[in-house]
């Protein structure tokens, strides 16, 4: 398993559009994607889960990927969180 902490910089937080982009991209990977936020775990492949987390701007989240393509998944996940608007 590999993981990385990322700070959400999007002023609107991880709202529906970036959450949609994120979960759609993550679903393409075989690895399981887990978002740790506020001490809780959210499935990074489910938009309901990501929206339920209500991740605001400035929040630090930890993304954990576990599986055969975990590194690629993690890189992609971090990229989306840092760039998505």
């Amino acid at each position: 398993m590999t993981s990385k902490k990322v700070t959400v910089t999007n002023p609107e937080g991880l709202h529906m559009r970036p959450a949609g982009v994120f979960t759609k991209a993550m679903s393409a990977f075989e690895s399981s994607i887990n978002i740790k936020f506020n001490g809780q775990n959210y499935n990074g492949k489910s938009i309901m889960n990501v929206l339920a987390a209500g991740i605001k701007c400035g929040s630090e989240i930890e993304i954990e990927c576990d599986g055969s393509d975990e590194q690629a998944a993690l890189d992609k996940a971090v990229e989306i969180v840092q760039t998505a608007e």
């Binding site: 709202h15 529906m16 559009r17 949609g20 982009v21 775990n41 309901m48 605001k56 400035g58």
Partner: protein, 657 residues
């Protein structure tokens, strides 16, 4: 920001059948205008459309949440529609949408729309909740479901926010406030008062500190306000304030504080702070034995053994009380003179009560063993302990399988205690060994491996254990026969005492057999001593619960009354719950009381020609007055000794030495 405050009854339309997405959205926007949320309809409509162009807002599972941050929004609000037939909104999972919520967020609304989105999705993730919304007949009903769900998920948080509106509003803008969420379980063996007092204390303290808490109460009426997997997943930590075992596997990997239920009542703040400050240890269920899990805040091994025992005893108690009273009724409705050796079954009515009562009694020891094992090893332990307890009662051995004539002696309640603990630890051991199995076998562990291997091992252990009981019984029989020449008083002491050692096990049986053999030889005084010894334990305990109330828990006190009846009817089993929960104090007291009665009965030259005890046989007792004195004195001695040994409960909790 509560969903229920944002959604007005007038802004809900149920059972729509729109022909297009535009028609649906127009309706949702109209409802926003009607509710006064939107000041400029056309501008808002444009902003919604713009948002839709950027990507779909149908998030799957039939849910769509179109939304816009717009200058045209006068105040934040929601509108909602259900479309039973579904409508294609280009959902991320490709399925049609049937539940549509539209969020209108003011341009300068900060994170408001993200918060509403978060709350809505948390609630909508629950499929049964979605179904309730879809099935709603009226907007009122629709709102009612949302209100209930929101209270379930956010009730505590909202209550805390309502209590201090000012400080909550301020820092929220400055920095995202991290809300501490706690789940807790309270439980006590009685489950009448303490469970709920602890829950209330925790809830109040948490609200005071501004934390969110959900407390499951494992009271006598079963678990209430049960924690869902989601509650647990979301929680920062778990508080267990319990004097009996609660289901622990679900808390694997969570930060946990464990304590006695009394700490939940008296020190809720301390427990909560341990979680909030993050200083609590992480609970590991796999391979962690129950005694390990009580390390924190518990009383170590002693406390955990007490907890296992109490789990067994509290489940056994109803069987003892119900069965005992029914058997007493059987004796009452029977005529002793028809057939003394069949007393209790001679008339049809008596036989009816006796049969039911005996059936209840038959479950007593398996229940005791089963729930002790379950307390140790969680659910998988139950079956193993249950079977072990039943085998202890049956007394079956390898030898008795081959030779039906072999001496089969029930191991009694001490055997059931043994079976319960061994069964629990066998299961724990199995769980530990099975950790090494490949993950693919995970699913068959609880359905196949634990029950099959666990029960098999338990059976082997009991088949090896029971012969020891048989041998002990034989040795006792021989010992008693050798004592035949001893003084009658000594014999009375020994026989009376033996009746109380195990209340149905090898000692008890040896004394009884010796008594019946003596009757056959024409010595009626021995049976009198044996029977009076069997009546003392429940009576001694009953007296003690009446005159030394502070030594007992409320439920023990209440069932104490029943023990008067059971003692007078020669149902020694009434004492078992007390003996099982505190063997080292209760059994010696009963032994001494019974021994005194036995000796006095012999000294007064009492006789009894029937192989049965209880007040029903008093008409055939020789020297009834002496017999009564023996019974009363023995019971009083036993009760006083028990009061002396047992400390008042407050002290036992470790407050004073």
């Amino acid at each position: 920001m509560k969903v229920i405050d944002l959604l007005k009854e007038s802004a809900i339309t149920l059972n729509m059948a729109p022909s297009s997405k535009e028609e649906l959205y127009d309706k949702l926007i109209d409802m926003h205008c009607g509710a006064g949320n939107v000041s400029d309809k056309e501008a808002f409509k444009k902003d919604i459309a713009k948002r839709e162009e950027e990507g779909p807002t149908a998030i799957g599972d039939g849910v769509a949440i179109p939304h816009a941050k717009s200058e045209a929004v006068a105040k934040p609000g929601l509108s909602a529609a259900t479309v039973p037939a579904g409508i294609d909104l280009d959902a991320m999972d490709g399925a049609p949408s049937n539940l549509v919520f539209m969020i209108a967020a003011p341009k300068q609304g900060g994170d408001m729309h993200l918060e509403v989105l978060s709350r809505l999705t948390v609630m909508l993730m629950d499929e049964s909740f979605r179904k309730k919304l879809l099935d709603s007949k009226t907007p009122k009903e629709f709102l009612k479901h949302i209100d209930e769900k929101e209270i379930e998920k956010y009730g505590a948080e909202d209550a805390a926010a309502a209590q201090k509106p000012e400080p909550a509003a301020q820092p929220q803008e400055a920095q995202p406030k991290k809300k501490v969420k706690i789940v807790a379980v309270t439980a006590c063996p009685t489950g009448i008062a303490h469970t709920f007092m602890a829950a209330e204390a925790l809830e109040q303290k948490a609200a005071e500190l501004g934390y969110e808490i959900k407390v499951e109460t494992n009271g006598s009426g079963g678990a209430k306000n049960v924690l869902t997997a989601r509650d647990i997943a979301e929680a920062d930590g778990v508080i267990i304030a319990a004097d009996k075992n609660v289901e622990m596997a679900r808390f694997d990997g969570k930060k946990m504080v464990q304590s006695k239920v009394s700490d939940g009542i008296h020190k809720p703040g301390e427990l909560i702070e341990k979680i909030a400050s993050g200083s609590a240890g992480v609970y590991s269920h796999k391979g962690g034995s129950a005694s390990e899990s009580t390390e924190e805040g518990g009383d170590g091994i002693g406390h955990s053994i007490y907890k296992h025992l109490m789990n067994g005893v509290s489940h056994m108690l109803p069987f003892v009380v119900g069965g005992g009273i029914l058997i007493a009724l059987a004796f009452l409705f029977d005529n002793y003179e028809i057939d003394p050796s069949n007393f209790g079954m001679n008339t049809p009515l008596a036989a009816f009560f006796k049969t039911i009562g005996d059936t209840a009694f038959g479950f007593m020891l398996p229940i005791l063993a089963g729930f002790i094992a379950m307390s140790i090893a969680d659910r998988p332990g139950l079956a193993v302990g249950f079977v072990g307890g039943a085998l202890a009662v049956a007394g079956t051995t390898f030898a008795s399988l081959v030779n039906p004539e072999a001496n089969v002696v029930s191991a009694g309640f001490l055997g059931a205690l043994f079976a319960g603990f061994v069964g629990g630890y066998i299961t724990l051991g199995l769980e530990k060994i099975c950790e090494k199995l490949p993950e693919a076998l995970e699913g068959i562990k609880p359905v196949l491996i634990y029950p099959l291997i666990g029960i098999l091992l338990m059976g082997v252990v009991m088949f090896l254990f029971n012969p020891i009981i048989g041998a002990l019984n034989t040795a006792l029989n021989n010992g008693l026969n050798a004592m035949n020449g001893a003084s009658k008083i000594v014999l009375g002491i020994v026989l009376g005492g033996m009746m109380s050692i195990d209340m149905g096990g090898p000692f008890n049986k040896a004394a009884y057999v010796f008594g019946t053999a003596a009757i056959a030889e024409g010595n009626y005084d021995i049976m009198a001593a044996v029977m009076v010894g069997g009546m003392v334990p429940p009576l001694a305990i009953a007296l003690c619960t009446t005159f030394f109330k502070n030594r007992f828990t409320p439920s023990e006190r209440k069932s104490g009354v029943v023990n008067y009846i059971m003692g007078l009817c020669f149902i020694s089993e009434g004492a078992i719950p007390y003996a099982a929960s505190d063997p080292l104090r209760v059994i010696p007291s009963c032994i001494v009381g019974s021994a005194v009665s036995g000796a006095l009965s012999m000294a007064f030259g009492c006789t009894l020609m029937a192989p049965h005890g209880g007040i029903f046989v008093f008409p055939v007792v020789g020297n009834v007055l002496g017999y009564l004195i023996a019974l009363v004195v023995g019971s009083v001695v036993g009760a006083l000794m028990l009061a002396l040994l047992k400390k008042p409960l407050g002290e036992k909790a470790g407050l004073k030495k």
